[in-house]
């Protein structure tokens, strides 16, 4: 980890792409705070859109035409398809307000800041250099993953946990964009289809759980403990 010399700013491309990566992280924090499921889904769509914008920026600046295709596929799946499916699932269940977490909103944000700081500095010490994006974006990607964990641990309802999992995948995609932007397109698309499998599994879980317990809260599941 080294402290940047005073007064030297990163280039406009580095600064701009870091800003987009930070927007992804801030939207993750937004999901952590958000009390309405509908808005959580909206934030997830916005986060995925920000990721696609970042991919397009990298594609344009670093001359990697594959990434255009990736950005398009990921936008089609994560901005349009996944939110649509989850919203369809929610329409049947009827209740709007997500289960409140174990912690209050302000405390969970503070906990997430600490966890994100751990991610930031853990990655900052690694000697990784990426040819396409500044290393800060990788650190931010780890912070996104860790905050998504906090979201999934803190929330006590199935839909929030599913959204947490999907946004965790966004964090992983961001990391992939930093360290492996030149990866063959086929791998990237395979990861996207992985996400679709997760959506099917979570969709099923939401359906079955709501059918049995008449609620989306996971507190019903504690009775399963032996």
């Amino acid at each position: 980890m080294h402290l940047l010399a005073v007064g030297t700013a990163p280039s406009v491309f580095a600064g701009g792409s870091n800003v987009i990566a930070l927007i992804v992280l801030l939207l993750e924090f937004g999901m952590l705070r958000q009390a309405l499921r509908r808005d959580q889904i909206r934030l997830y769509a916005a986060q995925s859109a920000a990721l696609s914008v970042l991919a397009i920026t990298v594609a344009a600046a670093r001359n990697l035409p594959d990434l255009y295709a990736l950005a398009f596929c990921s936008a089609a799946i994560k901005v349009v398809a996944v939110p649509l499916v989850v919203r369809r699932l929610l329409r049947d269940t009827g209740d709007e307000i997500a289960g409140s977490g174990g912690l209050s909103v302000a405390s969970s944000v503070l906990v997430a800041i600490v966890v994100a700081a751990f991610g930031f500095f853990a990655v900052g010490t690694l000697p990784i250099r990426s040819p396409v994006l500044p290393i800060t974006a990788l650190a931010i990607a780890f912070a996104v993953v860790l905050v998504a964990f906090v979201l999934m641990i803190n929330r006590r309802d199935v839909v929030s946990q599913a959204i947490g999992f999907f946004s965790l995948e966004n964090g992983v995609s961001l990391a992939a964009l930093v360290v492996a932007a030149g990866m063959p397109l086929i791998f990237e698309v395979v990861f996207l289809f992985d996400l679709l499998v997760a959506v099917v599994v979570f969709g099923l879980l939401i359906r079955v759980h709501h059918g049995r317990a008449e609620s989306l809260s996971t507190s019903e599941l504690t009775s399963l403990r032996g």
């Binding site: 980890m1 940047l4 005073v6 990163p10 800003v19 302000a106 944000v109 930031f120 500044p134």
Partner: protein, 320 residues
């Protein structure tokens, strides 16, 4: 061809711009707000008439209040008139008295003003004024860390904590303007300003909802010229904070680089226009969000804190 203005005069003009322009900016904001709500709204100059009317009225003090009660508005106004000496209001170059204090120094003077007003509110014995004072101090304690982290960001970016230097750094290249640390610090500062000026989502500054009041409740017992001073003070505080946001962080352009009268006058006009621009944003926010419940304000502040902390983090990673 034109002679330069003497530097002390420019220094005085900085104070005069803030002092005399503040009611105008408040008037513009309430006008825009009214238009956004479909009302005709008051005249832009209405705050001046309000102040003039209050000055002509009788001043009363509650029974048993000590001289502190009447002294507080004077001290607060003196504080608000001192801060414009420290920040780049009109010029890109530092004026002689501009180096009396850094950003923290300016912050201390603003806190002193808010402290004496709170003490005066406690003097009154009126429950509403005391409620406002205690709330203002409670929430000031939780917004303080945000301000500190913004100052840390500035210090890490520039190596100093002088507002003039940060403004010059931001002007120096486009990379400085889009660097994440700078944007995050500016956003965090904007959220603090919404809190400090008593705007939605923290507080409504119109209406008479006593239970939600923080800043607005404190001068309840003041009257006449003293009340006028307090109102003028809060308008000045608003303009000072806008100046810090706009001339140090967001858009430090349009400042005068010389001491020529034309440039200085242009800088005054640009400054008031930029402040009105911030006012438009604030008025739009005022009209599109609901007021937060009192205990939700911590969530708002936690959001601002998040932005400021992330700014420092990205700087330490070398990418900010």
């Amino acid at each position: 061809m034109t002679a330069s203005l003497p530097i002390p005069l420019i220094q005085t003009l900085q104070v005069a711009t803030v002092g005399l322009g503040a009611p105008l900016v408040s008037g513009v904001i309430s006008r825009i707000e009214a238009r956004l709500q479909g009302r005709r709204g008051p005249r832009v100059l209405q705050p001046y008439y309000d102040l003039a009317k209050l000055v002509r009225k009788e001043a009363l003090a509650p029974e048993g209040a000590s001289p502190v009660f009447l002294l507080a508005p004077l001290v607060a106004c003196a504080c608000y008139l001192t801060v414009p000496l420290l920040i780049p209001v009109l010029t890109t170059y530092g004026l002689p008295l501009g180096y009396m204090g850094d950003i923290l120094g300016g912050g201390f003077i603003l806190s002193l003003a808010s402290f004496v007003v709170a003490v005066a509110a406690l003097e009154t014995g009126s429950p509403y004024a005391q409620l406002g004072a205690s709330r203002a101090k409670t929430f000031a304690a939780i917004t303080e860390p945000v301000v500190l982290f913004v100052v840390f960001t500035v210090a890490l970016v520039t190596g100093t904590d002088l507002p003039y230097v940060l403004a010059a750094t931001v002007r120096s290249s486009a990379g400085q303007l889009v660097r994440p640390a700078h944007l995050l610090a500016a956003a965090a500062l904007f959220m603090v300003i919404l809190y400090e000026t008593g705007r939605i989502p923290v507080e409504t500054h119109t209406g008479t909802n006593e239970f939600g009041m923080i800043e607005e409740a404190r001068p309840f017992e003041h009257s006449g010229p003293y009340f006028a001073l307090l109102k003028w003070g809060s308008m000045m505080k608003q303009l000072i904070l806008y100046v810090i946001l706009v001339n140090v962080f967001v858009a430090p352009w349009g400042l005068s680089a010389t001491a020529k009268p034309g440039d200085v006058v242009l800088a005054i006009v640009t400054l008031l226009a930029k402040a009105a621009g911030i006012g438009v944003v604030v008025a739009v926010i005022d009209n599109s969000f609901a007021k937060l419940r009192l205990f939700k304000i911590t969530e708002f502040v936690a959001g601002a804190f998040l932005l400021a902390v992330l700014g420092v983090f990205t700087l330490y990673l070398g990418g900010g």
